[in-house]
Amino acid sequence: MTAAVAGFAVFRVDSRASRGAPTSSVPRPPQDRDEALDVVRVSGPSSVTPADTSEELGARLVGLLAASGNGDEQAFATLYDLTSARVYGLVLRIVRDAAQAAEVTQDIYVEVWKQSARYDRSRGAVLTWMMTIAHGRAVDRVRSSQASINRDHRYAELDVVRPFDEVSEQAIAGMEGRRVRHALTTLPVAQRQAVTLAYFGGHTHNEVAELLQIPLGTAKTRIRDGLIRMRLALGVPS
């Protein structure tokens, strides 16, 4: 019997630091170095994206998405402007290739446009809804395109510290990003590894288990416990 579904080989795992965000006079909270932390770290002062508190942004996105559902392309263009760095950034992080990331991002926005009238506000924020679609699409891409890559690569790459891609160098490190990075540092390393391998690495929990050499059930538990702890640290309502 051949395995047609399980066992995607996804091999890039990195652990690295990013430097040189745009300068401003905003002081930076101290950041602990932690090589296992698979997130963009800021070692210089960073600019804060203007204006929007996340509440304001969230309310605006609801209106724009509703207008999009009625066929308002102008509203959708604004929605794109407000969200594209989030969507593209995540996709790029997962697929690791600028051309593919652009392609996948376009597919995601077409999907968001098509589904815009179906968004149900009672089930979560617009950005959560969009990022869920985005993550699913990016992961699909990375799994289908890397399915043939030798699994052995993955073990070798676990310990490799990769230089950050030039595009991600520009990653915007606003207050919100800093808050999330801080929340990540509150996780035990084991949970953080499991969460980041799954979320940014696009790995299945089977692969997470293999990569970390832990039982499958443990991988599942670490992913869930890590996210629950993140949720707590971020103040997401349960």
Binding site: S84, Q106, T196, Y199
Partner: protein, 246 residues
């Protein structure tokens, strides 16, 4: 009281389940308010992770996106979806769980754990046996030696997941049509000699079905599915809609 499947919520929220597990759990979420609420809050936490990965897209992408969307229309909003409930446990669902709701949520979850419609099993099964069935399905899906094969199944596709160690096989189907009234899909275990042994019937819900192939599949060389009259027949009378070699 917690749902026995709630260990899956995190992996589901991060798209880290395998395809067949994902199908199983998505089906489960339709009826388990507790897991559903947890998934949504974990998805929200996961979405926040993307704040650490922001990057400006290439400038031309905006124009490409806008020209692509001008070619298609947004799909109409769905007619108000009824709140799904199982076996009479109507759970009024709100995005934020309150303590007051908790017993009802737990009750709904218990029903799911016990199986019945959530698993798309035939109505003939008694509830007491479906608890064991749900556990067996779970065991196969999480078995270390589980292997799967996907084939097209009418308008959709079916994935057969087999564990040699457990001698058990599960079918997960998506996007399949419902058989005409009075009919059902019937599973067959095909022996190496070519004989077809009845292995249960099922009907999809919302185009989905998750069911176990009845009996020990250790000495089975293939699994086939035909459309037969409801309740099942002793020998296949129609062409197979899906046949998968184990």
């Amino acid at each position: 009281m917690t749902c026995q499947l709630n260990a899956w919520t995190g992996a589901y929220a991060l798209d880290a389940l395998d395809e067949q597990e994902r199908a199983v759990f998505a089906e489960h979420l339709q009826t388990c308010a507790s897991c559903d609420a947890e998934v949504r809050s974990l998805q929200s936490a996961a979405a926040d992770l993307s704040l650490t990965a922001m990057a400006e897209p290439p400038a031309q992408l905006r124009g490409n996106v806008l020209s692509a969307i001008s070619q298609v229309r947004p799909e109409p909003a769905p007619v108000t979806e009824p709140v799904k409930a199982s076996a009479g446990n109507v759970v009024a669902f709100t995005p934020r769980r309150t303590n007051r709701m908790w017993p009802a949520v737990a009750a709904a979850c218990a029903v799911v754990a016990v199986g019945a419609s959530a698993w798309g099993l035939g109505q003939r099964h008694e509830r007491s046996t479906t608890a064991a069935t749900a556990n067996r399905i779970y065991a196969v899906l999480t078995a270390a030696d589980a292997q799967s094969v996907t084939g097209s199944f009418g308008t959709g596709h079916g994935t057969v997941i087999n564990s040699k160690r457990l001698n058990k096989t599960i079918l997960v189907a998506n996007g399949i049509a419902s058989p005409k009234p009075g009919h059902a899909y019937e599973l067959w275990r095909v022996t190496p000699g070519g004989a077809a042994i009845p292995a249960g019937t099922f009907t999809p819900k919302n185009g989905q079905a998750i069911t176990e192939v009845a009996g020990d599949t250790g000495s089975t060389s293939a699994i086939s599915i035909t459309i037969e009259r409801a309740g099942g027949v002793a020998v296949p009378t129609t062409q197979a809609v899906l046949s998968v070699r184990l």
